[in-house]
């Protein structure tokens, strides 16, 4: 998988992470307006899984795949990155899988649950949401850092790779610049 992501052309990654979810959304919009808004929520996990698989898969492949080219005297915190990337990877599918059954709102499901369980649900979601936000931000940071370290072959500071950090953050735009450079690094 890592090889495939690293060797993929920029437009392939763009279609996987942006084009495909975009088209799915275009199909879903009229469907949910014609029938009922629930359709959107029902099929949302599908869109999210396509996006998550592409985006997190790319982040993972770049930072793990490029570790071999990092100079020996630079220490990278790979384990911390792996742990923090896995938090959103596990949490988001679970959230989107069970979003219909959450005991909030005026629906029939969960109305008979007592307040303590509802608060516990809320606290768990709140905590994991913040954690996975942090996880994704750390992954962006780590990937940008790895990328720049390999490019410059020395220890880098944030001011060196701030540009790359934002390019990965604004993924659909940045990928057009980052991916060709990664292709070149691999060869």
């Amino acid at each position: 998988m890592i090889e495939k992501f690293l060797k993929a052309k920029h437009w392939q990654i763009f279609i996987l992470t942006f084009g495909l979810p975009f088209i799915l959304q275009l199909i879903l919009m009229p469907m949910s307006i014609e029938n009922n808004p629930g359709t959107m929520i029902k099929y949302m996990p599908l869109i999210m899984i396509v996006f998550i698989a592409g985006f997190l898969g790319w982040l993972w492949s770049v930072s793990i795949g490029l570790q071999a080219k990092v100079p020996a005297d630079v220490k990278m915190k790979v384990l911390k990155f792996k742990i923090l990337l896995f938090i959103p990877l596990i949490y988001l599918p679970i959230l989107f899988g069970f979003i219909e059954f959450l005991p909030f709102g005026e629906r029939e499901i969960g109305q008979d649950l007592n307040a303590t369980i509802k608060i516990m649900f809320f606290a768990a979601i709140f905590m994991f949401h913040i954690l996975s936000m942090f996880g994704i931000f750390y992954s962006l940071y780590f990937v940008a850092k790895t990328f720049k370290t390999v490019e410059l072959q020395r220890e880098v500071t944030f001011s060196d790779f701030a540009g790359e950090f934002f390019m990965i953050w604004f993924f659909p735009i940045g990928i057009w610049v980052i991916q060709p450079k990664i292709n070149k690094m691999i060869n």
Partner: protein
Amino acid sequence: MLQKSSAFVFWISIFLGLPILIWYWAIGIKLQNESFAVSKLKILLFKISIIFSLAYGIFFFIYYMILNGDIIMSLHFIAMISIFYPTVFAAKILKSAELNREATLSDYMGDIFLMCLYPLGIWILQPRIHKLIKKEEKRFA
């Protein structure tokens, strides 16, 4: 504006907004060097877009906020473009001055983001500008 500290540029542009355009102007005009020739048309476009954005910013405040006027779509749309163009131009000039050659889009794409998100970008770009100015001074001394 270029010699000022990062904190000065940050606070003045956070509170007033419009001074960031003067900062773009200073980068776009003063950091040009002999590394490559910028076409006169582009410089003119850069200057016009900054002046237009500044004028529209003041007009916006008076017309919409004080006089409660209706929105003028075409002017607003032109202002949107003309507030974006200086960031691209300034990023290109800055990167070219650093690399001593004409920078390509893939070189200065990151800098465009830093220019657009200026509350964060100033802290990274301003030290780089200071370094550049110091280098220039050393060369001429």
